[in-house]
Amino acid sequence: MKPFTLDRPETAADAVSAVAADPSAAYLAGGTNLVDHLKLGITAPGLLVDVSRLTSSDVREDDRGGLVVGAGVRNSDLAADRRVRERYPVLAEALLSGASGQLRNMATTGGNPLQRTRCVYFQDVSTPCNKRAPGSGCSALGGYTRYHAILGASEHCVATHPSDMAVALAVLDAEVRVLGPDGERVVAFTDLHRLPGDHPERDTVLGHGDLITEIALPPAAWARRSAYRKVRDRASYAFALVSVAAGVSLVDGVLEDVRVALGGVAHKPWRAHRAEAVLRGARPSREVFLAAADAELADARPVEGADGGNAFKVPLVRRTLAAVLRDLTEEADR
């Protein structure tokens, strides 16, 4: 680890000023991803600013009937919150499918969406990677591709976003409240993360010094009937090959409202607007679920790899999406 300074300021505003003033500075919250990166040499900040105690660690009601989650709320506490479990089960399920009990006790609401890809070439500093070292090339192409993107990737990067929580926040149309050098602003969660394009090193639209202070969950009646399903190589403690977050409301046997997002398929949590358009107003059936998946996957571009490539993700998303929607609509019918 390269030497660095660690500051623990008293206020979020002081933290923002400290990071904004130093191009080599970074925020430290739960540290579950960043401390590992310090050890691996993926990043070498000159200054770490500990913000873990500077943002709220409470979940509160807002006046619209939604919830506001402080950036300092630990993943385990958010998953255990009674209101989240009853009103936004997709979020509780996504959180509980991620990492381990110890890591969920450490990871925070503000930090989790900012965790970086677990692409093995990004993690291995001895290999070229456009995300870690812009312009150096992409080692994933033709390499180990099992965990890589099938949607929205570019010739420069095929990495996927690893967060489960973020897929749920995308389906819930969450709002990200940011304190930056120029003051406060709100970013729609679905706009927070970028596709790689020519700049895969930029994960999000946040600028240097921007600090997530809260994430707001808008009121969503449909979310009471929502779920998260994660498909992975082992039963627990593994990143998603693919995941599906979805919620439905049925009126007179018709899908009145339906929301879908996918994980493990793209550089960002993938909101499936095309699938939603096929589903909205339809009567639930396996045929319509698969048609919705096919509409979303029409532009899928699997990566060819030495491990056989990741074309398996296309039918896996298709079947997982259909299964989640079947479970949710059968439950809604009862």
């Binding site: 030497p3 660690l6 509980l96 381990s100 110890q102 039963a235």
Partner: protein, 177 residues
């Protein structure tokens, strides 16, 4: 550049480990795990992978299980740390390590202190009604099953494969509480 702090230099912090107060001088790069083992001589938490993947370094930080290898020591100023060694009192073994002995929940024993701390954290989380990935519905409270124990211990690896004994040990300690 930042105007506060001292570039890369160490600072003195205060923390309690297993009931004993320490005031170590800490380099910003030092993890809680290395502080405990290398500086304070508290060798109960073990260094396995050092990357947050194996759970051997699990300790209770202010009562909650965390990974000491991914926790920077300077952020622990004022904290209370409990290791597996600190779970035992003057009147014999804590029910958890005793249950590990009863059920042969270890072979080489390297992962055991982390397993024991993780199990102590698990019991507290379960008693608070926190659901897990295998709880049938997140709107319900979890039931005390082997499946729940196994899922909640998934962050602790045992390369000897003593998992069957570990689950039985935690089951026993939980049944008795």
């Amino acid at each position: 550049m930042a105007t506060t702090g001292t570039a890369g230099r160490s600072r003195t912090i205060e923390l309690r480990v297993d009931g004993t107060a320490y005031h170590p001088d800490v380099d910003p790069r030092r993890t809680l795990l290395d502080l405990l083992r290398e500086q304070l001589g508290v060798t109960s938490p073990k260094k396995g992978c050092d990357h947050g993947q194996c759970g051997a370094c699990t300790v209770l930080l202010d009562g909650r299980r965390v990974l000491a290898c991914l926790t920077l020591a300077l952020t622990c100023d004022g904290a209370e740390v409990t290791t597996a060694a600190g779970l035992s009192g003057d009147d014999g073994l804590h029910p958890l390590p005793q249950a590990f002995v009863d059920h042969e929940g270890f072979q080489c024993g390297y992962c055991t202190p982390g397993q024991v701390c993780s199990a102590a954290g698990l019991l507290a989380e379960f008693d608070a009604g926190a659901p897990s990935h295998v709880t049938p519905s997140v709107s319900d409270s979890p039931r005390w099953t082997d499946e729940e124990i196994a899922e909640r211990m998934s962050g602790n690896l045992c390369r000897c494969g003593a998992y069957v004994g570990i689950v039985a040990a935690i089951r026993q300690a939980g049944d008795k509480r």
